[in-house]
Symmetry: C2
Subunit: 222 residues, 2 copies
Amino acid sequence: MKRPLAVCLVSGGLDSCVAAAVAAREFELAFLHVNYGQRTEARELKAFQEIADFYRVKYRLVTEVPALREIGGSALTDESIKVPEGEISTDQIPITYVPFRNAHFLAIAVSWGEVLGAKRIFIGASQVDFSGYPDCRVSFFEAYNRVIAEGTRPETELRIETPLINLSKAEIVKLGAQLGAPLHLTWSCYQREDIACGRCESCLLRLKGFKEAGLKDPIPYE
Amino acid sequence: MKRPLAVCLVSGGLDSCVAAAVAAREFELAFLHVNYGQRTEARELKAFQEIADFYRVKYRLVTEVPALREIGGSALTDESIKVPEGEISTDQIPITYVPFRNAHFLAIAVSWGEVLGAKRIFIGASQVDFSGYPDCRVSFFEAYNRVIAEGTRPETELRIETPLINLSKAEIVKLGAQLGAPLHLTWSCYQREDIACGRCESCLLRLKGFKEAGLKDPIPYE
């Protein structure tokens, strides 16, 4: 029997790779990658294609949201704002927050999923180590599922799945290892594209996750 | 006292022009226009700029969502699907439906509005003569307001306003005339960019609206 299709949002990072590995257990995969003027765009795209090759993904869409760079307001998309180093932010919304970014990604996933006849959208968001991004919370995705139900054709049955939403980075690393996800192909650094800096918020979270999971991060660091 | 800011989604069509005219009574305006590979992109952009000039709008963002053309699935974005002529569709979802289009537009409006500190997003959607698009219903916008509340910063107070949602096309024409909206600058035709075809669904709805309102449509037809 033909497996139902799931659209996976794959940035090329650790979390989206593990979310795709979860999806791969039940679904045929359609991989979506969005460039939005983030600093490490080229390196993330390379990771996306390598992970897609690993899972032999036939349906791939690489697209862009130029508005996020045009609008700015984040260290990830605005060259005039520096990426912070040396600490993981906790209670505040960090300067790396890209305003309402996940809503753009989900809109594309829904439009594509509706045309493809997909049943699920997988996104690797986590609200545990989520760095205070409001668009990474369970309540955001629940509300978005309602928007999908109201804003698409009656016969469309798309629904967002967030398999990592309550997992810490260490738990995500462990789950990825269990599922045989190609963690060596993923890219997390916010700053560099050759080897990971090891100092930005994203690198620090990743390194902490591997350490707490008792595993060695397979990618090279500066 | 400085007036609060509203982001207006302005396609260049009749409805968005009248929605902007409503917003102009209370708010300072920020005009957003989105190209998405629709057939009459250049003509709509011209209308957008002329309406923005009319209202002396300082904040303007013209951006694009290439994904909608890449994904296709609609007569408006897919050259291989013909725009229907000669009838206004009623109960079915028409082939001009662009899957989940308004969710893309709203995502951009929210990201921009959050960075600008705007209080409202105005969109000229109507569920009366709405041609069966699921993303033009009250329930869709209500659900989206919940997504905005959940997915943005706690201090962000953005909310969608749909002043035309329960108005027929004739009522929209009358309201626009009352408010002195520049209806002569608007463009509605789905097919042509020089003079309106008068035969596509959008032209037929517009002509019917002016006729029922007892007013003459100021734009030329083929």
